[in-house]
Amino acid sequence: MSNASLTDKRPPSSLRGATLPKWFAWAVAAGAVLLGLGISFAAGLDSSIQWALIAAVLFVAGSYGISAKVEGPRQAKDRVATSLVWVAFLMAIVPLASLAWTTVKRGIKVFDGYFLTHSMGVVADTEPGGGIYHAILGTAEQVGLATLISVPIGVLTAIYLVEYGRGRLAQAVTFFVDVMTGIPSIVAGLFILSLWILILDMGYSGFAGSMALTILMIPVVVRSTEEMLKLVPNELREASLALGVPKWRTILKVVLPTSIGGITTGIMLAVARIAGETAPVLLLVWGANFINANPFKDPQASLPMYIYLQFTNSGGQGAAYDRAWAAALTLIAFIMILNLVARGIARWKAPKTGR
């Protein structure tokens, strides 16, 4: 489509074959959607997935057929590829839009100040009322502890890889950090379960959950910090070292401050990622209806697990179901805000690489 604007300015030349007008693709798309709707009405199909699929097939076939007739087979193939790429894009947008719309529509029902500030202490699953205060508290403590543990380890590992690491050890660490990003969250949960709860015989607690979250968070922090440290120009390091500043002070006072914006962004994105993890929390924190402010003793609640428990107890309707959606809205809002702020920081504090 961007090429069209270039070619349009030239006078028509005999070297160019016949071309279809710019609005051709839109016209075919509109026609395909109308036809798809028409067919599904005529055949009495009830699902929107069906008419959308019909419309997509009609769109691709229509582009090919008309273009092959007017412009020739090569251009027709090009148009098929273009329309397929557009269809792929729309197919990805539809679930996202549907998900956002459903969550907001369902979640807003019981979402208010009362919901955020009360626990489920004396509320049965079938009754209305109750809230997520205990779950928010639990999630905040578990994620906070996980962040406290994994940020120093992650940042130091990244410093090792970028500033010191050579040879086999660094290679092994790089490889296993990469592999660690792919560990399923439930496996991290099972590991802490076998070590902490089955072998060391400690009870279920928020801290057990934080340890599993730490395993999931470390590789993300290492990776993003590593990328940011690599962006720091070497001239800065060399200038500092040339002044006789020891290397560790160079790293602390020059390298880290230069890249702190990006590192913060990476950490916030990592927090956003683990805040929604359900599986390890389900295995290790157990869940509770009452407020438990101590993450080191006794089961706690957590926001994602609250959603799961309310959902499984609700049977797909009633007060518990509404609460599950409202909690989902809270969780998504928190994660999206964290994402937006993190990306804002990244843009605002992007290291000046100095060309």
Partner: protein
């Protein structure tokens, strides 16, 4: 290719150029020694952690397997607290592989399409916005995907499954009994939506790095945009697409909550993908955990160990392929 594999120790261009001699001299100051010790210690901690995960899972798994009276790999039953205890992972392995393969079959073409859309089709500004939206898709927690899948996706698939049953039901694979669409195929579709972002992001990075000259040369020969993509972009990005897909596969294999909320599990292997039933490793752990006895937990850990090994192999292979080009890793995707 061979030159890079021959010398894997060559430092990436972006790292600070520094000789071993310089590092050694820096280490002579006490502050430096402490700092090196701390940072190397963190690196070693990561390795120890990986080893510990493997070791402790194996230890508990062996406890369970030594009491298992049935073949762990072929038994289609999960009864670890029975007398005698009998459990096997055949159903779980089948369900995990089938749902992941469906997810890949749907997600990879669409993700490559979106990546091409962002890099080669969309106007620059729109491309940036879409890349951002795809990142947001990656940030949605799996539990919310599960809620959405159970409420929106499952009922919407009835029409589609009716079609598949009408036209392809004779294959047996797509036969449908008309029950709720809480089947492996639905799980595959949901997983496809969930792994779309990571495949898109990694492929996008690869497509960005296609040498501009290749594309311009093709354009100068009069190629259409599709021909440019087929001749210069896709060949260059092939290894990137493969490893992106394997990263996506790793995610799909280990996905827990969304599967547990959408699938209606049974411990059977059935030919039809559309009928409710089946199970996956992660889903089985999450839904059996609460009622499990100590023996039951060890059995679940044994199945988790299998999942761990599979994802380790898949991710390791993806990383080895992608390591040829250091600049992108997709770990932040």
């Amino acid at each position: 290719m061979d030159t890079t594999t021959e010398n894997p120790a060559a430092p990436p261009a972006l790292q600070p150029a520094e000789t071993d001699k310089g590092a050694a001299r820096g280490a002579s100051r006490p502050g430096d020694r402490v700092f090196i010790g701390l940072s190397r210690g963190s690196g070693i901690f990561v390795l120890v952690l990986m080893a510990a995960i493997a070791a402790f899972l194996t230890y508990r798994a062996v406890l369970a397997l030594s009491k298992n009276e049935a073949n762990f790999f072929t038994t289609m039953e999960w009864n670890p607290s029975g007398v005698p205890p009998q459990f096997g992972i055949a159903v779980l392995a089948f369900g995990t592989i089938v749902s992941s393969v469906i997810a890949m079959a749907i997600a990879v073409p669409i993700a490559v399409g979106i990546a091409l859309f962002i890099t080669h089709y969309a106007p620059r500004k729109l491309g940036g916005t879409i890349a951002y939206v795809i990142d947001l898709l990656a940030a949605v927690p799996s539990i919310v995907y599960g809620l959405w899948g159970a409420l929106v996706l499952v009922p919407h698939l009835n029409g589609l499954y009716g079609w598949l049953d009408d036209y392809f039901g004779w294959t047996g694979l797509f036969a449908w009994d008309g029950g709720p669409a809480r089947s492996l195929f639905t799980v595959g579709i949901l997983l496809a939506i969930m792994i779309l972002p990571i495949i898109t992001n990694v492929s996008r990075e690869v497509f960005r790095q296609v040498p501009r000259m290749h594309e311009e040369a093709a354009l100068a020969l009069g190629a259409t945009r599709w021909e440019v993509i087929r001749m210069s972009v896709l060949p260059f990005g092939r290894s990137g697409i493969i490893s992106a897909s394997m990263l996506g596969l790793g995610r799909a294999l280990g996905e827990t909550m969304a599967v547990a909320m959408v699938l209606s599990p049974t411990f059977t292997i059935q030919a039809s993908l559309l009928d409710a039933g089946g199970g996956t490793f992660a889903q089985n752990i999450a839904s059996k955990f609460n009622e499990a006895t100590e023996m039951g937990r060890d059995a679940l850990i044994a199945s988790g160990l299998v999942l761990f090994v599979i994802t380790l192999l898949v991710n390791g292979a993806a990383r080895l392929i992608i390591a040829r080009r250091k600049e992108y890793s997709g770990a932040n995707a």
